[in-house]
Amino acid sequence: MRNFPLSTVVLLLISGVLLPLFFTDTAKAIPAFARKYDMSCTSCHTKPPRLNAFGEAFHMAGYQIPQTKEGELRKKRQIGRIHSEKEFLNIFAMRTTGNILESYSGGKPPESNIAFPREIELYFAGSFTDDISYFFNLSNESKTISGLENGKFEEKAEFGLGKEFFIMFNLAPAKKDMPHKKMGRPMMMGPMIMLGKIDPSTNFSYSTNRQFIIDNPGRVDSSGTIQRYTLTPYAFSAKFFGLSTGDGMAIEVTKSVLYNTPGDFGIDTHTMIGPFMIQAGIMQGISAGTSDVNEKKDPYLMTRMNFGGTNYFSGSVSGLVYWGNDTAKVGTELIDWLRYGFAGNVKYKLLDIYGAIIWDKISGLAASDAAQFDDTAMGLTLEADLLLTDQHLVSLRYDHMEAGGFNIQKANGRVLTLQVRKYLRDNFALFLRDSVNVGSVSDNPLQNFRNLVAAGIDFDF
């Protein structure tokens, strides 16, 4: 904290004092599903975007209340003034989040920025019929890091169909077709099929897209050399230095990939049977789009078990195996990438603890690279969130990466982050965050800071 510039402190204070004044009087807004079902956000979320046990069940059931069939949109109850709302609002949601201020110290160069929240996402989600639901996400992310050829990167705004867009089919036979006395149905949900640009990890005990501690933007210099990697949950990240995608674009070491991608093309199926879930699917590969260069697909399998249900307690454990089939490149050689790991989650009253440990192993390296390339890597992310009061959420996260990749490039990362969110409304939060590099500080883009302070907003409508 020693190098913390005065200007940033002043801005922090100003934003802390002024912003609440602007927003405390806006009308209470509730996002799409909450509007549709007449529920408060906290019926499904600890606080958005993190799901509580009911939210997880709703999500697994294909955006439906477990045990009921959709139709709510069409047969929606008309209660009071709410029915005058446009039905459009029942399928539409928006999220704006990002740092407004950020300040790095301890690395080179120290840096402070004031920014407009980097990420704006629009969601459209609902169901066409009882058995077919959809999810579309349109997003604008300013200054994200994307890979170029020859290990170079650029910072650019990304706009378009965002992280995810998919259609979900529920293959379970409709209840009305079942003989009324047949008992087989209720304990089972699905199979559900998701098709499109998907985040398979939405069903994992620790899902990629639901972060209270949002990713902290990285930095690229004018020559296309990366100076600081985006700070993400390390367990999910690529972890290998010197990788590129099938079509030769550099992959950021901290980019969430494979099973833990925030969204890539693939087909996913999941089925719940009592407390168990089996998920299997096939992905195109990292950023492969709709036309994978090598035409090989990456299969994966995940199993999950839920437990708890009394005493304000619940939890789950999941295990994962993913086979990246010729999915990335080292130099000019396509490599295979095995990823496996576990995730767990326990929730007790207002405390939510979750984590994932993921191992990666690369095979099929060119003989010339094999000697200088560490083909194994490991990442661990552990987080605890506590809803301290109605308005305050405290989060603590630890990220650990034992990186792989080219020996001369690679470095390990260890980061501890503490964040406090203040909710002015259920769906509007200010946050203040401090990430400390508890490992070594160096010029390596993974280690190029000692301390990072950021403040920003998270607004869901």
Binding site: S43, P66, K75, G80, Y312
Partner: protein, 276 residues
């Protein structure tokens, strides 16, 4: 591992079909298991007169619905301690109902009594705005099944099938009119509703607690979308007569004995506050 395209396709299909098959198998085993459980704990002993085959089946189906959905909020044992329950009312009323306590908010029976089966079914069908989704898509059969399950497994007493509360007719001078609403306005003050709900129906007392010692705010009477017990004329009449047990909102059936029609005046006053 360098399969060609055709091999890959076959292999993928194989994995997929196998998985579906395994899933289906495990599914049917799981079912047998839960069936066994039901036989073990033959809950129907609690209410001997319900011991018919049909009822047992109904309760069994109800348990399945409950264990997939309701328990997330109400808890596996009906204690209101489901994993999601704390997030619904972290620091204020309401939280998912503790069925085992025998205290029910939404009844058509006298304050202090158990609800009727139809009351439970109404709550499940309509849901509770803000806090519990509507389960009308379970269908009337499913709704009844799960209500029976709650009764047998958690309430463990026979529910009343009639109520002593008189549901007066909505006729003559007691149909909706400006005069009726005006009389209701007087009653509102005479009966001291304003002490909790405020003169304008909006402002509420801030120092109230429910029977779990959680803070509870009197509902803003001008905003019908926050009413948990329904918003139709009949619903509001019922709320006033029965009260909401477990909360400070008293039942007023005793105050209206012999002149139940006047309660409609109060209903109309509340409707007029909402511009209806």
């Amino acid at each position: 591992m360098h399969l060609n395209k055709m091999q890959m396709k076959k292999w993928g299909l194989f994995v997929f079909v196998t998985l579906l098959f395994i899933t289906a198998q495990v599914g049917s085993q799981e079912m047998d298991h839960s069936k066994m459980n039901m036989d073990d704990t033959s809950t129907s002993e609690a209410a001997p007169d319900m011991k018919t085959e049909d009822n047992a089946m109904s309760v069994m189906r109800g348990k399945m619905i409950y264990d997939m959905s309701c328990f997330l909020c109400h808890g596996k044992n009906g204690e209101g301690d489901g994993p999601a329950s704390r997030f619904i009312g972290p620091y204020s009323h309401p939280r998912p109902n503790r069925f085992t306590s025998g205290v029910f908010k939404f009844r058509s029976t006298e304050s202090g009594e158990l609800p009727m089966l139809t009351d439970l079914m109404r709550t499940i069908r309509e849901g509770i705005p803000g806090y519990m989704p509507s389960f009308r898509n379970l269908g009337e059969d499913g709704i009844k099944d799960v209500a029976l399950y709650i009764t047998e497994a958690f309430i463990q007493e026979e529910l009343p099938t009639t109520t002593t509360i008189k549901y007066a007719k909505h006729v003559g001078p007691y149909t909706y009119s400006a005069e009726s609403a005006w009389r209701g306005g007087l009653l509102y003050k005479i009966m001291k509703c304003n002490e909790c709900h405020g003169d304008d129906g909006k402002a509420g007392r801030m120092d109230l607690k429910d029977d779990r010692q959680i803070m509870v705010h009197p509902i803003d009477l001008t905003r019908q979308e926050t009413f948990g017990n329904g918003t139709s004329h009949e619903d509001i009449y019922r709320t006033i007569m029965t009260g909401l047990d477990g909360t400070p909102m008293p039942g007023y059936a005793d105050s209206f004995v012999g002149e139940e029609e006047s309660a409609w005046d109060l209903v109309h006053f509340i409707l007029s506050l909402q511009g209806r």
